[in-house]
Symmetry: C2
Subunit: 215 residues, 2 copies
């Protein structure tokens, strides 16, 4: 499959690298191609680099791996023509680091970044997922023992099924839970404050939550 | 130990009943004593009922089991003289049901109800905990299998140690994690949107999260 990955940070590089490893053709979109020279030299023949718009145009599926505070701007640069009808996997979290640590959220409670993106691009099929775990864990859940849980939110059942197949068969996730429509992205984005506190308390970002259910 | 429990709903009745069972003397504070007649008839000799202020005055430790949207008002009725110097275990969540389902939070992101209570009663030792699980699970964590996780937040290390001892030795919690000062109550109160969505998805409130940590 041809996949566009928007964002050249650690999340974008990690996701794109894994997708190439899985046999997909991947174009990573960046505003600074020099950031990806080293990545590209190691990523294999099916990897390429371009602008945000070129990466989105290339992909049948597009992964948003930009920082949440800049995601809407980055996606606006791409334009809806390059996103309409496509699955847009949104991994971003709306973290605001401008007021010091710990970061707060730019949007929460009555709205979410996932919903903002879906409203801005109504013809895209936004699927929110992977935003609750560290980048390395996203593509290698076995770094944490047991069948810990990954959440998925989105309005389009077929789009969610396609993404869940990549998560399970590609990335190795065993416990993937469909929370419901894109408004459930509020719930997972609002996990960030706990994630950040746990990172501080545990002194490692390699953790996740396993949902355990009683009788 | 003498314990005051503020609130006569299902959380207050459950917590108070368990504390009596553990051998404590417990006075439950309510604005409507008729709600507690049945409870009192079954709760044993060490159980009693009074006003909010009487229950707080009675307790060496006070549990806030009121609904979050009314917690500050209820505690104001009690007055700081009945809370100063005491451990105030805050179990409430700032849920706002007035705008329909799912409820939103009355405060989050840059503040929390736990912090509001601590600021309003600076001489009380507020410990936020138990607010992430169903009432039955609070006092019987074995209803969900495995060592799932309970979080504790608060500024006073001794107060937290006392509460953690009740949680572990009294209520049976095995995995209790001290997240840090009372500002970490933001993180656990902001778990509510996920809890509510999971309740809908799983069709049961009997679940919890087990924190799993990698290498």
């Amino acid at each position: 499959m041809k996949i566009g990955v928007i964002g050249s940070g650690i999340v974008g590089q990690t996701i794109a690298g894994k997708l190439v490893e899985l046999g997909h053709a991947v174009k990573v979109g960046t505003s600074d191609t020099s950031k990806l020279e080293e990545w590209l030299s190691k990523a294999g023949e099916e990897a390429s680099v371009g602008s945000f718009a070129e990466a989105a145009a290339f992909g049948e599926i597009v992964f948003n791996c930009t920082r949440g505070a800049g995601s809407l701007d980055a996606l606006q640069l791409i334009g809806e023509a390059n996103l309409n009808g496509k699955i847009l996997v949104d991994i971003s979290n709306p973290l605001d680091f401008s007021k010091g640590m710990p970061p707060t959220l730019t949007v929460c409670n009555t709205d979410s970044l996932g919903e903002q993106i879906q409203r801005t691009f109504p013809e895209a099929k936004v699927v929110k997922t992977l935003n609750t775990v560290n980048a390395a864990l996203m593509v290698n859940p076995a770094l944490v023992p047991g069948d810990h849980t990954l959440f998925v939110s989105g309005n389009d059942p077929e789009a969610k099924a396609t993404v869940i197949a990549i998560l399970k068969e590609g990335f190795g996730w065993k416990a993937v839970l469909d929370l419901g429509d894109i408004s459930t992205a509020r719930a997972t984005e609002m996990l960030m404050p706990l994630w950040i506190r746990l990172w501080g308390t545990l002194q490692t970002p390699m953790f996740n939550y396993k949902l355990v259910i009683g009788e």
